[in-house]
C-alpha cells in the first residue's frame, strides 16, 4: 500500500536510484546482446552459404577445398581432424588432470595443495600462441626422433598432445573443486568400514563428485574443440580426411583462422564458408558448455 501514511515504504520514488538500476541492468543485458550478436553475425552468411551449397554436400562429402578450383565443400575432413586432435588431447588431459586432482584433493597436505594449485593455474595462463611455438619447434622434432612411425613437420599428434597439456588445468582445477565439495563424513564413513585411502578415493569420493568431474571433462573437450592457435601452428593448414595422426590436418577452428586472415572477398561463397564452419563450431561448443554448466549446477545443489 504505497502512499498511505502507515506504510514504511518511501512515499516519494527516488528517480536517481531507478536510473542507476536501469544503467546497471543495461550492462548485464550487454552479455545477452553479445550472444545475439554472435548468432546474427553467423546466421546471415550461413543461410546464404546453404543457398548455394547443398547441406548434403556440406555434411557428407569428404573433400574440403573451398579456395581450390573447382571448389569442394565437404566439411567432414575438418570435423574428423577436430575430433582426432581433441581425442588425443583428452587422452592426455583426463588421466593426468584427474590424477593431479585426486592427489591435490585427497592426498596432499593443505600447504602442498596451496602451492601446487596456483602452479597449475600458471599453465592455464600461458597464451596459446606460446604453446603453438613450443609444439612446432620443440615437441614435433622430439616426436619425430622418438616415434617409430612417419611424422610430418605439421601433424595432428603433436597438436593434440599440446592441446592436451593446455587443458590439464581445466580438468584438474574443476575436478578438485568437485572432490573438495564432497563432505568429509563420506570419507570418514569409508575409513570406518576399513577401506583404504585408494578405495576411498576411487569408490567413494570419485563417484560422489562424478557429475562435477564430467562437467570438467566436457568443458575441457569444448575448449579443445575450439582451440585455434595451437592446431593452426602445429597441425598445419591441410584439410585431410584420414586417421593418420602423423599427417598434417586442418581443424574447424584452424580453417576459420586461415580463411579469416586471408584476403577473401566479402560476400562470396568462400567468404560465407568461414561463417558456415563457424556456425558448426559454435553449435558444438555451445551445446557442450550448456550441458557442462547444467551438470555443475546440479552437482552443487546436492551438498549445499
Amino acid at each position: 500500500m504505497p502512499g498511505t501514511p502507515q506504510s514504511l515504504a518511501r512515499s516519494r520514488p527516488r528517480y536517481g536510484e531507478q536510473v542507476i538500476k536501469a544503467v546497471l541492468m543495461v550492462a548485464a543485458l550487454l552479455s545477452v546482446a553479445t550472444t545475439v550478436g554472435i548468432v546474427v553475425s553467423l546466421l546471415e552468411p550461413t543461410i546464404s552459404f546453404f543457398g548455394e551449397i547443398s547441406a548434403v554436400e556440406f555434411f557428407t562429402s569428404t573433400e574440403w577445398g573451398p579456395l581450390f578450383e573447382p571448389p569442394h565443400y565437404g566439411v567432414l575432413p575438418l570435423v574428423s581432424a577436430t575430433l582426432i586432435t581433441t581425442g588425443i588431447a583428452i587422452v592426455v588431459a583426463v588421466p593426468l588432470g584427474l590424477g593431479a586432482a585426486i592427489y591435490l584433493s585427497e592426498y596432499a597436505k593443505p600447504k602442498v595443495r596451496k602451492f601446487f594449485k596456483p602452479m597449475l593455474e600458471v599453465l592455464a595462463g600461458i597464451p596459446t600462441v606460446v604453446f603453438g611455438f613450443f609444439a612446432l619447434t620443440f615437441v614435433t622434432p622430439l616426436l619425430r626422433s622418438i616415434m617409430p612411425f612417419e611424422i610430418e613437420i605439421f601433424n595432428a599428434l603433436c597438436a593434440g598432445l599440446v592441446v592436451g597439456f593446455m587443458i590439464i588445468p581445466i580438468v584438474a582445477s574443476l575436478s578438485e573443486d568437485a572432490m573438495a565439495a564432497v563432505p568429509n563424513g563420506l570419507r570418514e564413513g569409508s575409513y570406518a568400514l576399513g577401506a583404504s585411502k585408494m578405495t576411498t578415493s576411487l569408490r567413494v569420493v570419485l563417484p560422489a563428485a562424478f557429475s562435477g568431474i564430467v562437467a570438467a571433462v566436457i568443458l575441457a573437450i569444448s575448449r579443445g574443440v575450439g582451440e585455434t592457435m595451437i592446431v593452426f601452428i602445429a597441425g598445419g593448414g591441410q584439410p585431410n580426411f584420414s586417421v593418420d595422426i602423423g599427417k598434417a590436418m586442418q581443424t574447424m577452428a584452424a580453417f576459420i583462422a586461415q580463411a579469416g586472415s586471408g584476403d577473401v572477398p566479402v560476400g562470396t561463397t568462400e567468404y560465407n564458408t568461414i561463417f558456415a564452419v563457424g556456425s558448426l563450431l559454435f553449435v558444438m561448443t555451445f551445446a557442450m558448455n550448456f550441458v557442462s554448466v547444467r551438470l555443475v549446477r546440479r552437482f552443487r545443489e546436492v551438498y549445499e
Binding site: 554472435i38 553467423l42 600458471v122 595462463g125 613450443f134 620443440f138 568429509n184 570418514e188 579469416g260
Partner: protein
C-alpha cells in the same frame, strides 16, 4: 571422532600396513601432477634459452622487418598491445563490474530473465575465442563500420573477457557479508549509497584481482585478432583508435610462420617479453589479494 576429522590423521590411519597397490596408486597420482609441471617448466625454459640471444634493446627499439631477422624488433607490436589492452580495460571493466552489481544486488533471481542472463554469461565464458573473431568481423568491423582498427580489436577482446570480469566481480561482491549492507540500510542509506560506499570499497581487491586476470587473458589472445586485420607486418606505432595495429601475440605468430631460424629466435625473445608482462600482472593480482584480503 575428533582425531578422524582431520585428513592428516586419516592418512595415517588408512596407510597403516598398506599393500603395494596403495603406494603405486599414490605414486601414479603424484606422477601425473609432476608430468604436467615438467611440461610447463620445459616450455618456459625452452622459450627462455631459445630467445636469450635476442633479448636486447633491438626488440623494443626496432620495427618489424620481413627481410632481416637481425635488425627486426617488435616496437609496433608492443605499443599496439598497450593501445589495445588499455582500451579493452576502459570498455570491459566498468561494464563488467556494473553487470556484476546488477546481478548480485538488484536482480530478483526468481525472475526468468535474470536467470537467462546468468546462464548466458556462463555459456559465453566457454565460447571459443575464434568465434568472437567472427563476431568482431561481422558486427563490429563491418556492420558498425569500424574497420580493422585498434577500437575493433579492443571491443572484440572486451566482449571476450567480459564474462570473466563479471564472474570474478560477482564472487567478490558476494563475499561481502549481508550484515554490512543491513547496517548501512538500517542507518537510512539508499541501496545505491550502500553499494557505492560500503559494498564496492569492500570488494575492490577481489574485483581488481579478477580484472587483472581477465586483462592478462586478453593480452595473450591471438585467434580473434587474426580475423580482425592484425596480420600483416605493421611498421608504425598506432596513433589513434582508428589506426591499423599489431599486437605481440600476432607478431609472434607472424615470426613463427617464417621458415628462417632467425625469426624463430626472435619469436622466442618476444614470447619472453610477453610472459614477463603476464607474470608481472599475475604477481600484482596475487599481491593485491593477499594485501587487502579481509576477514569478516
Amino acid at each position: 571422532m575428533a582425531i578422524l576429522s582431520t585428513p592428516r590423521s586419516a592418512v595415517q590411519l588408512a596407510s597403516k600396513g598398506t599393500p603395494v597397490r596403495e603406494h603405486v596408486f599414490r605414486t601414479a597420482l603424484i606422477a601425473s601432477l609432476v608430468v604436467a609441471l615438467v611440461f610447463m617448466v620445459a616450455l618456459l625454459s625452452y622459450v627462455f634459452v631459445e630467445g636469450w640471444p635476442r633479448l636486447d634493446s633491438r626488440l623494443w627499439e626496432n620495427m618489424p622487418s620481413v627481410r632481416n631477422p637481425d635488425i627486426a624488433g617488435a616496437q609496433s607490436a608492443i605499443t599496439g598491445t598497450l593501445w589495445v589492452i588499455s582500451l579493452t580495460g576502459l570498455f570491459t571493466l566498468p561494464t563488467g563490474i556494473a553487470a556484476a552489481i546488477y546481478l548480485e544486488e538488484y536482480a530478483d533471481k526468481t525472475r526468468w530473465y535474470n536467470r537467462v542472463i546468468e546462464l548466458n554469461i556462463q555459456n559465453l565464458a566457454g565460447i571459443p575465442s575464434i568465434v568472437y573473431g567472427i563476431l568482431g568481423l561481422g558486427i563490429i568491423a563491418r556492420t558498425l563500420g569500424l574497420g580493422f582498427s585498434v577500437i575493433t580489436a579492443s571491443l572484440t577482446l572486451g566482449l571476450l573477457v567480459l564474462p570473466i570480469v563479471i564472474i570474478a566481480s560477482r564472487e567478490a561482491i558476494r563475499a561481502v557479508p549481508p550484515s554490512i549492507r543491513e547496517g548501512s540500510l538500517a542507518l537510512g542509506a539508499t541501496q545505491w549509497q550502500t553499494i557505492s560506499r560500503q559494498v564496492l570499497p569492500a570488494s575492490i581487491p577481489g574485483i581488481a584481482t579478477g580484472s587483472i586476470l581477465a586483462l592478462s587473458r586478453a593480452i595473450g589472445e591471438a585467434a580473434p585478432l587474426l580475423m580482425l586485420g592484425a596480420v600483416s607486418f605493421i611498421r608504425f606505432n598506432p596513433d589513434g583508435i582508428f589506426a591499423s595495429y599489431t599486437v605481440l601475440p600476432i607478431q609472434i605468430f607472424n615470426w613463427i610462420s617464417q621458415s628462417r631460424e632467425g625469426f624463430h629466435v626472435l619469436a622466442a625473445a618476444a614470447i619472453v617479453v610477453l610472459l614477463v608482462i603476464l607474470l608481472l600482472m599475475n604477481s600484482v593480482a596475487i599481491w593485491l589479494r593477499n594485501r587487502y584480503q579481509k576477514r569478516w
